[in-house]
Symmetry: C2
DNA sequence: GCCCCGAGTAGACACTGTCTATCCGCAAGC
DNA sequence: GCTTGCGGATAGACAGTGTCTACTCGGGGC
């Protein structure tokens, strides 16, 4: 791991840092080049367009997310526990790396249709992640009632997590739970995650 | 309703039309002014900044959504049916008016913190909508098991719908259900909506 | 009749992404 | 040893953007 990494790598790293600190809207091609210490035309050699650079940054985000999952799931075996970790890690990532999470699902900014300069379509980055989810849901469900298409359940479960992360950062969920001030402030998000888990996977067994 | 409406109204209307047809990314201040037939500086009198115009457009979106709900819910009384209509209408709006739906929840583009030039904060536009949801969920739940904080259930339910709409338009849900080709193509979205309804509100009673 | 003021115009400024021509350094070839 | 070629980076140009400011024009109040 030499400190003189290729410019390509450095651009992506600077971009990730910029998205994390300033938000997805502030990531201009020229700004990245500036912070990387090269001229504004330099990135063009590796990323023909702004979208392709953003796509590379988003791809890094999906990789980071998957790494988080792998780290957090290590040592656990119960499918229900694993799904709980998955859920908490998903919304935690969305909150901690809000800019990245935004960028990763902004299809109009990404080359989601075209193949990237390397690797598969960006949309397909989520496929292995989802496969893991389907397998866990199937395992979790087999103990209970009829199978019921685990892929459908997994898709709905993921949707709930995704919407929860999105609406929470958007702010209206907090606002609305304030109005019905039943749940104490620090526990609201945890309660929502637990609610999603229970709703889609059946109530937890102690 | 005079055809010579104020420029302010016309700008918003042109903006809505532009978002619907070209997507949220294509809505420039100058482009709106051009299509409204005025100079590029004219909007500034009514909307001091680009964000404030986008916020006005988004506000119109929330109003449209609420109008759709009111129209679709007319005549129904069963809370479960009403929630079903709510769910289907929500994702239908997201699919039909994809650009508007995108814009409405892009907080970095909107003056979601500052008060608009008229009316309340943009974030609070969703509050009456959510109140309706909480009431319906409470009514729906009272027939079944313990109350369990209807506001929390309603929030999770809304999250699932929101995430479903988002991930469906993003494309990975379709992709992943293709891989597990169990559900025929035309029914996938309906199945997912039904799954969300059942998961959060309990299975439907015929 | 004059003045003022609101509404809209038009130009400037800094900035963006993209395109193009240019230049530098370094290896290969003779 | 000198030239050649070329990948990698530079810098300028161009059209377009949002914002700011000076200006103009027309109509109502005194």
């Amino acid at each position: 791991m030499k400190t003189e990494s290729s410019l390509r790598e450095r651009l992506v790293e600077v971009g990730v840092h910029l998205v994390m600190t300033e938000g997805a809207a502030a990531v201009g091609l020229r700004e990245i080049a500036r912070r990387a210490g090269v001229s504004h035309g330099a990135p063009r050699r590796y990323f023909p367009t702004h979208h392709s650079l953003l796509s590379a940054i988003a791809r890094r985000g999906f990789a980071d997310l998957e790494a988080r999952f792998s780290a957090a799931m290590a040592g656990l075996t119960s499918p229900r526990d694993l799904l709980g970790v998955f859920a908490r890690e998903y919304v935690a990532y969305a909150l901690e790396c809000r800019g990245m999470f935004e960028l990763m699902f902004r299809h109009e900014l990404l080359d989601s249709d075209r193949h990237g300069s390397d690797g598969p379509r960006l949309r397909e980055s989520t496929l292995p992640l989802f496969e893991r989810l389907v397998a866990l849901v199937a395992e979790c469900r087999s103990a209970a009632s009829p199978p019921e298409e685990p892929a459908v359940t997994a898709a709905a479960f993921w949707s709930a997590l995704h919407g929860l992360a999105q609406l929470w950062t958007w702010g209206s969920l907090r606002l609305v739970l304030d109005a019905h001030g039943a749940v104490p402030d620090g526990e609201r998000l945890d309660r929502l995650v637990a609610e999603v888990l229970d709703a889609h996977l059946g109530p937890a067994v102690p």
